[in-house]
Symmetry: C2
DNA sequence: GATTCTATTGTTAGATG
DNA sequence: ACATCTAACAATAGAAT
């Protein structure tokens, strides 16, 4: 399996872009949660998207 | 060089915790910025900490 | 205490069910 | 459309400077 290097630019293909959004959102949420835990601090991430809008806080209010 | 697997918990050592905060904040900011670019959406990350407080938006206002 | 190094762990693009 | 797989790629813990 060979993956092409992805350049940092808007993904024009609709399904690829949505798939990337879903995967990366999940990864980001995890990392924000980890930072909150490791450092004992409050964090919040906001992502607006056509698919949905997400606002999440850590630690969970 | 052997690195122990880190468990997901508050890092009690002050300098380790601060170092982790700095490194992970940088990584998170990069990823938020990438998500904004890849998907053409607005994102925002907020991190409160004793060291500083950070709020950043993408794309840059 | 900031910066750099790198072994290791973690994330994810594209493929496949 | 959604879940899972995994090679390729990226982030980072701990050490060194």
């Amino acid at each position: 399996m060979i993956r092409k290097k992805v350049k940092l630019a808007y993904i024009t293909n609709d399904s690829s872009r949505k798939a990337t959004y879903k995967k990366r959102k999940k990864g980001l949420m995890k990392k924000m949660s980890e930072l909150s835990t490791y450092c004992g601090i409050d964090t919040c991430a906001i992502m607006y998207s056509p698919y949905e809008s997400e606002t999440e806080f850590w630690p969970s209010p």
